[in-house]
Amino acid sequence: MAVSVLERHRVRVTGHVDAQPMLFAHGFGCDQAMWRLVAPVFAEDFRVVLFDHLGSGGSDVDAYDEAAYSGLERYAQDVLDICHELDLHDVVFVGHSVSSMIGVLAQIAEPDVFARLVMVGPSARYIDDGDYVGGFSEADIDELLDLMDSNHLGWQEPLSGMVMPGPELAEQRAELDASFCRTRPDIARRFAGVTFRGDNRADLPLVSVPTLVLQNSNDPIAPPSAGAYVRDHVPGAVLEVIETSGHCAHLSAPSETIAAIRAFVLT
């Protein structure tokens, strides 16, 4: 029996049906749970749509086809399929990390579906190339794929056991699905290859909607040079620096991330 697009990607929709849609796309390594501290706030003013990329989290892994998902184009098509299924227009697309480039490809493919792009920690190319500083070498990425092989077990480990007590933690945990951040190891490894070996620099100038780049001040995955490159090559893009470490501002600095997105969508 055919599984619908919405089931296939575990699409969750909240907020007002008539409000402008805001679609959140998670990056490599986790799933839609990554937006937990940011997305709910926007449900007051937007129709918030969350989903898992195929192969991640609670998506229908049986629908994963290695050949089809060997590039970001298919991931972008999935985003468009979700937009069509929900009949979304004027979408504010918020993509983290590799999903920033997935948003670029989707916007180029169907310019009318999107109103704005928000890129959280984008990089158009992770591997250094001449004067371009992506931050990594080919060998680094090969090593990452090997590392993921040795983490086969860890990536499938279900959320379980005791959690250190904290004020809201028990409550927060209850929201979390048992499939949280689980990825089938072979798919995670291929997604890593597609992500970190990608090069979308040539696509950036083709973006035709207002774009916000959020750059973490200390991001080991997407260095400032990567964010600046995206800003300089997406026509009219603006860049905001979020003072935080790591690659996930939406987790480590949610209020700053929310404020930056809000200011951008209100302009």
Binding site: G154, V163, P165, G166, P167, C181, I221, G246
Partner: protein
């Protein structure tokens, strides 16, 4: 460190560090951690733990480890590599949790991390991974071999017989990664004279495929020497007896000769479902009488039937993958159902083979447990 009078932290038999939640800088480190990384306490305090991973480890740290910790509060058994002050790489397993117990008292949450060196385990895992990859490669080679072999069991291109239309469908069992035992062949033995052979060798895989190859070329050879199909089967039976194999087979042989009056079909079955003779008006009967299995009995019996094929008749031969299709592991599709099905589509003989295979697949929920081969012949004008 304060509050560690019994050395629970400092002297723990595992490398143990406490990090700032934001930024992951090392706040406290025990003796085992300092020994592991080969650095002094002054050197490590304030440094980000991720700076001690290999580059790949840093990517993993920021894309998976930290998000998981933030969202679920803990992460277990992560395999990473520490790079020591001397540049050596030490495989470790990491467990970590997010400790927010102090937040009640206004203290910031911290991340507690325990590391275990895992050199031997990693060697073992590397071997396991290598073995798994080799097994996967071997399997895909086997699939490739099976597919290649499978293609030798049927003609690469169905021959074109003037004034006799043939439709053949061949469907291997399951996913097609095993060589089946069904085969067919169609070849020219004289001007306006053709032989059709369709059969099923017992078993599957390479042993069955070698017997199939033997039977196909032996039938081609014998067809030049014996005009009578029953004689041919006798010789084939004797030949298979002499082979060093415990395999046997069922075969149906048709010899089609064209004269000015039309097509005459003679045939014989060796333990095989009898050919069906269909008429466009929906009448379906079996042709000939059953014969012995090939390669088993000492006194095998085969008989030849003869039929002059009318312009509105057709002949269908098939393997038992059709009639022995099982619904949910239960009832067989059976001879009667098959004949009713053929009767329903008899008005269009060219559609018979496809209809039979489709029905057999549908009957077993599209998972063919046995190979299926079906071949239908009908005279055409012109």
């Amino acid at each position: 460190m304060t509050g560690d009078p019994t050395g629970l932290f400092e002297h723990a038999p595992a490398a143990y560090v406490v990090l700032d939640r934001d930024g992951g800088r090392i706040r406290e480190a025990n003796g085992a951690f300092l020994a592991l990384v080969g650095r002094s306490r002054e050197d490590v305090l304030g440094r980000g733990l991720s700076s001690m991973w290999s580059v790949a480890g840093r990517i993993f740290h920021d894309t998976h480890l930290m998000p998981t910790l933030e969202l679920s509060g803990r992460i277990d058994e992560v395999a990473l590599e520490i790079v020591t002050a001397g540049g050596a790489r030490i495989p470790v397993l990491l467990n970590a949790n997010l400790d927010r117990s102090g937040e009640h008292a206004g203290e910031a949450a911290v991340v507690r991390v325990v590391l275990f060196p895992a050199r031997h385990r990693r060697l073992y895992e590397t071997e396991l991974l290598r073995a798994t990859r080799e097994a996967e490669e071997a399997r895909s080679r086997a699939v490739e071999l099976a597919r290649s072999l499978q293609q030798t069991l049927i003609p690469p291109v169905p021959p074109v017989i003037p004034r006799l239309q043939m439709s053949a469908v061949y469907r291997p069992a399951g996913a097609g990664d095993e060589v089946g035992g069904d085969f067919y062949d169609v070849f020219n033995v004289a001007p306006r004279e053709w032989v059709v052979v369709l059969g099923d060798v017992s078993g599957k895989g390479i042993p069955a495929a070698t017997v199939t190859a033997y039977i196909r070329h032996t039938v081609r050879d014998l067809a030049m020497q014996h005009a009578d199909p029953a004689d041919l089967l006798h010789e084939l039976d004797a030949g298979l007896h002499q082979q060093d194999t415990d395999k046997f087979c069922t075969v149906v042989v048709l010899r089609l000769s064209e004269s000015d009056r039309g097509w005459r079909v003679t045939g014989s079955s060796g333990g095989h479902p009898l050919p069906l003779l269909g008429h466009r008006d929906g009448t379906v009967v079996e042709l000939g009488s059953p014969g012995s299995l090939i390669g088993i009995l000492d006194d095998a019996r085969f008989t030849t039937f003869t039929h002059d094929l009318a312009d509105d008749e057709f002949v269908t031969v098939y393997t038992d993958g059709v009639t022995e299709a099982r619904r949910g592991g239960g009832a067989l599709l059976g001879d009667e159902t098959l004949q009713r099905l053929v009767s329903r589509v008899a008005a269009d003989p060219a559609s018979v083979s496809d209809a039979i295979v489709a029905a057999a697949l549908a009957y077993q929920d599209d998972v063919a447990v046995d190979d299926i081969a079906v071949l239908t012949l009908h005279p055409t004008r012109g």
